[in-house]
Symmetry: D2
Subunit: 343 residues, 4 copies
């Protein structure tokens, strides 16, 4: 299965908090990659990594990582540092995988895109869900026309924690849903609004509701919260022919396709005769690959480097998400007023 | 248990579509009430009722019902007819139970309140959930202080159907959640906004999102839809000490109390030291009476008549709900702009 | 839909405890039947019935019921009285629907069959699940060959209560599963064994496990209990091509068809090469009619009377269930020793 | 947290099929242990391990492992080889952790116990569930008396696969449940019986039902299957005061304590007065540590070595399980006849 002849790609991981170790684990395990060095400001995190992967270098100075001969760098640091880290890595000639959101500023995201293009380096954003087989199924199902016309999408992504201190819940959790929406609909929203509240940490919204308007009247509503007793990861897509629920918390039945709908009568002479009819047909749970999305993402990153391919979740996609987040943030601070977005 | 000495109250039910037969069944079964007459415009509905309750009179003319010697009238007709029906019933000296929402116009709701007061008749609104034992538990739990400070409430009430033709989904489903919110919080909202779409019937919103702001920063978000593959009836109440989920679709575990929360550290000298701590304690499902809420509601109506009591869901409560709906409707047509409400 | 020309069948119901009122409700509601009279030993039960159905006669003397001109009698009394009641009803020329199990003695069941045949009367047993659309789906699916060869069936029917005092849990709950097994497999078991315990009432088993061996190596295991914290009504049917779970407690997804299985390799030279392969395909939830099984059962009973048809759950089927129960009872008292059954 | 002064224990893992890599991962990660060498007959498995842990030696010759200076050996090979491997390891002076079941022969299990005792080495069996915090909760709850008298236990452990070729489903899956039963009840069964079938591989039972009788009339029924569409890991413990369900598949609510029961009336003069009363109280889900049981098990093994402690799941416990399995196997081949067990 694994071609011994492909060259090994040496990888460094900057940041070893919540997500960095997952990247490290995958780059360590994927054939054709070598986890070479990990950097973090905290020594205890580095000790943890060193314990797991005795051959891997660790350093508190990410400059040392950049100066090493790693070909690729994965950046899993706080969002506010993404731009600086990514810029430095590109300037050192590295291919980069930056955690979502790409940056906290669209201008900076554009600069990274430009820099990567000039240097001929891969710039990929860690929109993990674009590599999730269930999301791929959703996209294919919609594209096939089997869902009919998409009416609306409702998404919920809530649980207790993990509260961030440099970004609010919109910047933390909504990038997942926004990247999923862009990916499965294949089109950008024309406007966005957001409302929310900050209950635990003053000034940092921990509960928020986003509304994205897409062309053709498609509405998408997203609920994100760090302050909910239950872990919910659920997306409902309602179309004119079928309805789908994607529940990422379900161990097996992640996708359910409902053959449900409402049919208008062809005509009716009197109001009394007028009756909508409801269709309650079969429910189908397709078999979905249980491959780990992050593994698929890391493998894709390595392939883009190896074969000069453009990543699915490339910089331009990452920029789109940042721009939507910026508009949502403005709406959030503005009492939920809708923000038109020009593309 | 049932006191043979209490006098029987003769009841008429106007409307025998979806809800009327449930009222009929209860008034037929509750000791101390006599289901005397049912009216509806459709003969097949009346035949159905006559088949179930051979002794009960049926008529296509509700005037006949009002002219009978029934003491109490339950009105379960389309919302647009509530005012006319209720007014006529009060003018005939009847006590009335009007399905929710009380009217589609707050001015008319006020007139009914005034008329009932002048005539010394009971005016009750069919806010069934105020009689639901699980909702009563929620109210008591919040009032006891065990939940701590209420942060926010999220409510979802969706399924496929039943599409209405004289009102949209906000007027159809949201009265349940609004009456629950008013009841469990014991306070009126200061503003409301609503957004939504009409996918199946042009001009009649079938999907909507409401946001109600209550005093002290309490937010309540309500999602209602006639166009969802799953039946969801779920309310999450998040407080500073506990969190509760009320899932009305669950056959047994309707209420779950989560001993979960986030605690701020008392102080911290450096940012590095700063850590929120998460509490993940026990989950408790209290035993909740399985009494049918509508039975409790009808019994309460009869008691109010018999003993001259003011109903829990009286006209003033019904008016509050109508006023909130009116503001929500205006917001809905106005792109979701927030509407302040003065009480 | 309802043919006004069919003649009305007058029905009497003997017994108004747990099940009788459900029979009464259905015979009251089904067009073409008239609930004429209900008998019970307890006056409070009769008062309840009289309150619900003012036109219906009630009596504490079932002889009065038999002497009336009802054409059909439904018997929902304790099992130990079934034979006496059924015999008397047949001798009065009535068609009878007897609750399950038909009798507590196979000889008596045979006598009832003979008597009904001699008198040309319908003898039907209240095996409700044979009229359950989900069970019908199971039977059809197996018969179609889509499940492949049936390997085994596992059934669980447990909850807290209702403890009986004249029969144990095997006679109370297992008739449901036995009648389902006979119906969906279309064949009789060759042997049965049963084990169990009596925890609450000395001498009356409240927990039991039955094993039925069917031809071709098909095994069916049945767990019944009055003493379980959860209500479980679940049947798993495992075949060589597909597997099905029928969960009667599920409000919507009662049947799930799993495209799962194990395939033997066609051949393998060495043990190392030998690998079973597992198939994890789609899961399908077919749309199943939500018609009330008891309504379908009562309707079937009336049709059998009206058109001289032989009931699906006729006396012979009822006798089969009683015979299996007798063998199970003997095994239960005999430490679980298997009992061969000759048909 | 981790005391740098404790000496490191070098560990070897024999067998790298399904379970071995999990042991390797834990011994690699636990402070105070060093995963030093892994052996397996298959080179591809060794390549996998070498890829994950570059510093770890791998070998196809387990003799090389035994000849190394590892202090402890974990054995995760097919059951039929346990005795030979364990004996050789003890003879080389190693402390050993043997996967469950300890052996396929009680005489051999006794020999290993004796040998370990003579050599002063730790012999521990991999009964993972004895280290599962939920099982610990069960044991403590029963021991506290809060459950009241234990009536019975019902256990289900089924899913599709993994079919074994050297042992049947009883030897493969039932050791988990048997070790749980011994641990939570703290007493040995007086008899066991087993029935089952072999559907996929002739002669190797893939579906089985075990019944264990414990003192004081406590019954435990265990259902195991490799041939079920659903993964079920569920144990119900019914007591006179409370009932508990332990569902290991549930991500959060693993344990539910039901305040349910049946109460006999203190006395009753007539049968008519006799009524059992049912208690339907609160349901409580205690917070259970989410620590990985295998990590706790491996840590316990290391502590036993380091401090000369006797393991919780020591050889005598492992022998008990093997003896029960031997009796179950005899019953299985003997048509389910009960086997008394003398301790």
């Amino acid at each position: 299965m694994y071609d011994k002849l492909i060259r090994n790609i040496k990888v460094g991981v900057i940041g070893s908090g919540y997500w960095g170790p997952k990247l490290a684990r995958n780059f360590h395990a994927i054939p054709g990659a070598e986890l070479y060095i990990v950097s973090d400001l905290r020594q205890d995190r580095l000790d943890h990594i060193a314990g797991l992967y005795p051959g891997v270098k660790v350093t508190r100075d990410y400059g040392e990582l950049l100066d090493s001969d790693v070909e690729a760098v994965a950046i899993a640091t706080p969002v506010s540092t993404h731009y600086k880290m990514a810029r430095a890595a590109l300037e050192h000639g590295k291919h980069i995988l930056v955690e979502k959101p790409l940056t906290n500023d669209s201008q900076q995201a554009q600069e990274l895109i430009d820099l990567a293009r000039e240097n001929g380096r891969v710039l990929m954003v860690g929109h993990t869900f674009e590599y999730n087989p269930a999301v791929g199924f959703l996209r294919d199902f919609i594209a096939s026309g089997k869902l009919g016309q998409v009416y609306y999408i409702n998404a919920t992504r809530v649980n207790l924690g993990i509260f961030q201190q440099d970004i609010n819940v919109v910047w933390d959790l909504a990038p997942h849903d926004i990247s999923i929406l862009l990916y499965v609909l294949g089109v950008e929203p024309v406007s966005v609004s957001a409302r929310g509240s900050a209950y635990v940490q003053p000034g940092i919204h921990d509960v928020a509701y986003l509304t994205l308007s897409f062309p053709d009247g498609v509405m998408a509503d997203v609920r994100v919260s760090w302050l909910d007793p239950c872990k919910i990861r659920r997306i409902t897509v309602v179309g004119s022919l079928k309805m789908i629920v994607y529940d990422d918390v379900e161990p097996v039945e992640k996708i359910k396709i409902y053959d449900k709908g409402v049919d208008m009568p062809p005509y009716s002479d009197t109001l009394e005769e007028f009756h909508l009819s409801y269709r309650h047909g079969d429910i189908t749970t397709p078999a979905i690959s249980s491959a780990e999305p992050l593994n698929l993402e890391c493998t894709h990153f390595l392939e883009c480097i190896r074969y000069g391919k453009k990543p699915r979740s490339n910089g331009v996609v990452g920029l789109r998400v940042v721009r939507i987040l910026e508009h949502a943030q403005r709406s959030l601070l503005n009492g939920g007023e809708g923000e038109g977005i020009s593309w």
